[in-house]
């Protein structure tokens, strides 16, 4: 019997896509092992959220409220989850593999003397074992791990698992959880937050992503990618080569250390397909690659390919797409 604790954070009153994926995975694991799904909500909550979480599969919604939890602070989060997890007694604790999850998960696992596994793409459980699947060697391989002790703190790779399905009428418990936090606990603090201007669709949620890589050889061609993304109502991404070179902000990076995306359509322009990058986009439904090198590894994962220089291919492609989308 595996009880799963899911961390829900963010102040919206509607569960985010990440949260739905966490709930989906949690529910499936709990169902397979006749366990329960508990959701813990931090950081100020809206009253509607609890009911929504239950509709999507939570058996219990725990609310941890504390002034120190108004904004994300890693020490506060770790201490809070430590207390909540100990009280809730879950065997598996799921967090999204986002900036917060990556920071909190290992520390939490250490506090709980359990295990940690990050960027999980699949969880399976039966009577005998709980298995976690993740990529290894930069996306070249899939590794399967079995838990040898509990709890296991796992971060879920976004867009890698099926989200939970809403069941109208499904309800659960809601309960507050007392949390003790001391001020000296909070050692770091956010002094300033700089948000990159996101025009249009957010990369993680886009249905269409157009990415550029080293083959673009500079920042100017990204304007063409913007044009194409806007036309297809999508977002622009980039490989690490492009962001490291400063051609486009790091928040646009798709890859092992960037964002994970799984849009319906992923167009990779001038990207060779280094495993670092593939790790971030192999979940895409249809992958199109435009590259001068027919042996580039990207073609091994792409569904459609055009061998050619983007300088010749893109303008014509954009023109034709514009023509086709106008009727």
């Amino acid at each position: 019997m595996v009880d799963v604790l899911v961390l829900v954070n963010g102040q919206a009153d509607v569960p985010s896509q990440n949260t739905l994926e966490l709930l989906g995975a949690a529910r499936r694991l709990a169902d397979a092992t006749r366990g329960k799904v508990k959701a813990v909500v931090l950081e100020g909550s809206q009253s509607g959220l609890g009911a929504a979480l239950c509709a999507y599969g939570a058996d219990q919604v725990l609310r941890a409220e504390h002034p120190f939890l108004k904004e994300y602070q890693s020490d506060a989060y770790v201490a809070t989850l430590d207390q909540v997890a100990s009280q809730a007694g879950a065997q598996v604790i799921l967090l999204a593999d986002d900036a917060r999850g990556k920071e909190v998960a290992p520390r939490l696992a250490h506090r709980l003397n359990g295990g940690v596994v990050t960027e999980v793409m699949g969880i399976a459980g039966d009577g005998s074992a709980v298995l976690f699947q993740r990529q290894m060697y930069g996306g070249r391989t899939i590794a399967t791990f079995a838990a040898r002790r509990f709890p296991i703190v796992a971060t879920l790779k976004p867009r890698a698992v099926e989200p939970a399905i809403e069941q109208a009428g499904r309800s659960g418990e809601e309960a507050p959880v007392a949390v003790v936090l001391d001020a000296p606990l909070l050692r770091t603090r956010v002094v300033e937050k700089v948000t990159e201007e996101v025009r249009g669709v957010k990369l993680e949620n886009a249905k269409v992503v157009v990415s550029g890589g080293r083959g673009l050889k500079g920042p100017e061609p990204f304007k063409q990618l913007e044009e194409l993304a806007q036309l297809l109502k999508g977002a622009v991404g980039a490989s690490r080569a492009a962001t490291d070179a400063g051609w486009i902000p790091a928040s646009r990076q798709v890859g092992q250390t960037g964002k994970s995306v799984s849009p319906d359509l992923y167009i990779a322009v001038g990207i060779s397909g280094a495993t670092q990058h593939l790790a971030g986009m192999t979940g895409s439904k249809t992958i199109v690659a435009i590259n001068t090198d027919p042996d580039a590894p990207i073609f091994k994962v792409a569904h459609l390919g055009v061998v050619g220089d983007f300088k010749a291919v893109l303008p014509k492609f954009i023109e034709k797409c514009r023509e086709l989308t106008q009727d």
Binding site: D75, K102, V194, S251, F299, P315
Partner: protein
């Protein structure tokens, strides 16, 4: 200010697919004739340390846990300009999980002396794990900030640029602290000066064994691993890529657009 950078030696990841091979018994990558390099984000961490030393002075120590060949990684770090290097290598410590690795590194850090700043790469270049930095922080009860691209030190505090989904945060924290480093155009690892490479090649890297550190058997002994690696497989790709043909790139571009329309993707 003194800095310790934790580095790991891995097999060069930028290789053609055909050269990537798995050993069926150990489930690990076979080295073959491939080069060994310092894990890429660890290199960025070394660069951040070197830039900090230029501004603040102090000493940098590269700390590595690996097999006996990992002296190469330490020498590489020395070639980049770090002051000292230590390798922890022991046959008993070759098959540790992340908790074991973090524990060994933390005990080694204690033995060297907890410095003002501990840096490491944000993601491991081969396993893809993102946990060792935060685990070391927990071992040493130090504050931890992850996915940082830039570090500045002012009045004994660190100000770090931490990358988040929609931009970045400036996080202030006390020292000592553990920071895991992400790459960006400000921390591109520098090329080593030849003199430094030659001097490093001649240096003797101190090698510590398990017995030199006061290790907790529960974290590093046999059976200490909290997760068991059951299987590693290379996913087979069923479908082949459909290459659009045409005499000119422009012709192929048109065909691509039409095909996507056929598939109702645009």
């Amino acid at each position: 200010m003194n800095i310790i950078v934790c580095i790991k030696q891995i097999i060069d990841p930028e290789i053609p697919t055909e050269q990537f091979k798995l050993d069926p018994t150990t489930q690990r990558q076979i080295r073959g004739g491939l080069s060994l390099v310092i894990s890429v984000y660890d290199q960025n961490a070394l660069e951040v340390a070197l830039q900090l030393r230029e501004k603040q002075g102090g000493k940098i120590t590269a700390l590595c846990l690996g097999d006996s060949g990992a002296t190469g990684a330490v020498k590489s770090a020395l070639g980049m300009g770090v002051d000292n290097g230590v390798l922890v290598s022991d046959p008993a410590l070759l098959a540790l999980d992340s908790f074991g690795v973090a524990h060994v590194l933390a005990m080694a850090i204690r033995k060297i002396g907890v410095p003002d700043l501990i840096l490491t790469g944000c993601v491991s270049g081969d396993t893809g794990n993102k946990v060792v930095g935060p685990l070391i922080a927990e071992e040493l009860s130090l504050p931890c900030v992850t996915f940082v691209t830039r570090v500045e030190v002012k009045d004994g505090k660190a100000v770090m640029r931490r990358i988040v989904e929609d931009g970045y945060e400036l996080v202030e924290g006390p020292l000592p602290a553990v920071v895991s480093i992400l790459s960006d155009d400000s921390n591109v690892p520098r090329y080593s000066k030849l003199k430094d490479i030659m001097v490093a090649a001649k240096k003797q890297v101190p090698i510590w064994k398990a017995a030199d550190l006061d290790l907790d058997g529960a974290k590093v002994g046999a059976g200490a691993a909290r997760l068991e690696l059951r299987d590693v497989s290379i996913p087979r790709r069923e479908s082949r890529c459909e290459m659009l043909d045409g005499d000119t790139p422009e012709g192929r571009a048109e065909k691509l657009a039409l095909r996507l329309r056929e598939l109702k993707l645009i």
